[in-house]
């Protein structure tokens, strides 16, 4: 729903440069998959988009304003772990969204507002298949159920941009496929811009409308952390025609994955 423009983004920790010269323009409704070797800075990039970390240089514009340097309701996030609140039941987790949004100084809505919030939360639980677990605490939910709850909670916040940090990294392959379907459906319904970081090349190609590879292009053998990663490959996918195995193989070679077969298999599923 909002355009993201990143221009000349840089991030350093002390002397170590993690990201440099990152430029992207993402149109509203695009689904960006970010892939790259471990430690290449793709998660850092996502945290900068979130506002949890600040860039060392360059600008990030969402809509028509540079982003505020702290997390806001404009950008929703689903992490791999700790993505729901352990002290609240599934239903309370979803109600919390309305409580935070319009609960005032008590952080809680009352009366008719609460009833309508509850209605909305129940509908969303139904939607992600957690209606039977509404009164369970996250500790008694499986990993897949927790992630479904986390996605539901984030979507109730109606973010313009959905950020996903390896959201399915800890799930079993079977559950993962279910989650792919759910996410694709929700994305089609809501039409928000999605930025997803993943280790799974197949997942990147299957879900994304655009695959971006983060890698280092410059190397200094005396000082390996002198240069950071940037976007080395930017592939727009046509949803109608599946990504070709050649594209997948090319990206997999860049990232250095050893599981090329499984990547192609996931893409085809």
């Amino acid at each position: 729903m909002s355009r993201i423009v990143v221009h000349g983004l840089e991030k350093s920790y002390g002397d170590a440069r993690v990201l440099e010269r990152v430029n992207i323009t993402a149109e509203p409704g695009e689904f960006l998959s970010l892939v790259g070797a471990s430690g290449c800075g793709k998660s850092t990039f996502l945290r900068i988009l979130l506002g949890q970390e600040q860039q060392s240089g360059g600008v990030v514009v969402v809509g028509d304003q540079p982003i505020v340097p702290e997390p806001t309701p404009q950008r929703g996030i689903v992490f791999q772990r700790y993505s729901v609140f352990p002290h609240l039941t599934a239903l309370q987790n979803l109600l919390l969204v309305e409580d935070f949004r319009s609960g005032g100084p008590f952080g809680r809505v009352f009366g008719a507002r609460r009833r309508s919030a509850r209605q909305e939360a129940e509908t969303m639980l139904e939607r992600v298949g957690l209606a039977h677990a509404r009164h369970l605490y996250p500790a008694s939910l499986s990993g897949g159920m927790q992630q479904r709850l986390a996605i539901a909670q984030t979507l109730l916040g109606r973010p313009q941009i959905l950020l996903l940090d390896e959201p399915f990294g800890a799930l079993d392959p079977g559950i993962r496929v279910e989650m792919h379907e759910l996410l694709t459906e929700l994305w089609t319904e809501h039409g928000m811009t999605v930025v997803m970081v993943t280790h799974d090349i197949g997942e990147a190609f299957k879900l994304g409308t655009r695959v971006l590879v983060f890698d280092k292009v410059r190397h200094d053998p005396q000082f390996p952390s002198a240069y950071g990663a940037t976007i080395t490959y930017d592939l727009k996918l046509d949803r109608k025609s599946r990504a070709s195995a050649r594209d997948v193989a090319e990206v997999a070679a860049m990232v250095g994955t050893t599981r090329l077969d499984s990547a192609i298999a996931t893409t085809a599923s």
Partner: protein, 300 residues
């Protein structure tokens, strides 16, 4: 139906299984793997209590046999009658039932002191742990205050606040609060940054995040803090009562010490222990009620 025991025999592999069951080697597990049954645990748990009781009864009987007016190790009957008198016979001078008056005075001091400390520690701990500016402002101070021995402050408190209740309650509060402040602050700082980021993306501000995220998450730890603080709190209470008081459990113990009244001191110590154990148990129950999520159902 799953075959089990006799079921397997009916399935035709019976003799083999039966032979294996008979010849099953006597399990010699490692010490760390040998579990204890419920009854066994109860028995083992009771043993130390029984051992102490028997040793005391034996020693007491021996001393009393040599000298029936011995005061050092009174018999259970003597202790019970002394305790019963204190609990039911009004004091000649004041008309109070001494045990209950002592208990009331001590518990009021204890709970007032620990209560104030808990409230203060919660506010300060959350502020220090959650707000970087407050942390920079107060954490070094709290760290230094933490290492002052509270009993060394007792004379100062008596001089500054007089010998009344205020000084005793303040001693307890000052004695237990600093550690609680640091513990709560640490717990808040340990909250996963993911949760805090997520709460912000859902529209939480600093205050509503304290209400809906930090307080509920800190509550189990706070109750644990109170449980741990009650030990030192009793110590400070009895120390303060021993020095300047006219009633209270600690005052009574130190008063009758002059007359070697072990028949009062020992039951009083047992009574204090009982009060402490009950408080602790109630706090555990409270934690289960307030934060059910932090206590997953135990497998029974």
């Amino acid at each position: 139906m799953l075959a089990r025991g006799t079921g397997i025999m009916q399935a035709g592999v019976g003799p083999e299984v039966a032979r294996l069951q008979l010849s099953r080697p006597k399990a010699r597990l490692r010490l760390i793997n040998a579990t204890v049954s419920r009854g066994g645990a109860l028995l083992l748990g009771t043993l130390p209590f029984a051992a102490v009781a028997i040793a005391y009864l034996f020693a007491s009987a021996q001393r009393l046999a040599v000298n029936p007016s011995d005061k050092l190790l009174p018999s259970p009957a003597q202790m019970w009658s002394a305790f019963f008198d204190l609990a039911t016979v009004p004091d000649k001078r004041s008309g109070d039932l001494i045990l209950w008056a002592d208990t009331y005075a001590s518990l009021v001091r204890l709970f007032a002191g620990v209560g104030m400390a808990t409230l203060g520690a919660l506010c300060l701990g959350v502020a220090i742990g959650f707000i970087p500016r407050v942390r920079a402002f107060l954490l070094p101070f709290a760290t230094v205050v933490c290492v002052i021995p509270p009993l060394a402050l007792l004379p100062i408190l008596f001089i500054a606040l007089g010998l009344g209740e205020t000084a005793k309650i303040t001693l307890i509060a000052i004695g237990v609060a600093p550690v609680m402040v640091r513990d709560i602050a640490n717990r808040v700082m340990e909250l996963p940054p993911e949760l805090i980021a997520k709460a912000q993306t859902l529209g939480g501000n600093s205050w509503t995040m304290v209400l809906r995220l930090v307080l509920p998450q800190v509550m189990p730890r706070l109750i644990t803090c109170v449980r741990l603080a009650l030990g030192p709190a009793w110590l400070f209470l009895i120390a303060a009562e021993a020095i300047a008081s006219t009633e209270g459990l600690g005052y009574r113990i130190f008063l009758v010490r002059r007359y070697l009244s072990m028949d009062v001191i020992l039951p009083y110590v047992a009574w204090i222990t009982l009060l402490a154990v009950t408080t602790d148990w109630l706090l555990v129950r409270l934690s289960h009620i307030i934060s059910p999520w932090a206590h997953p159902v135990q497998n029974r």
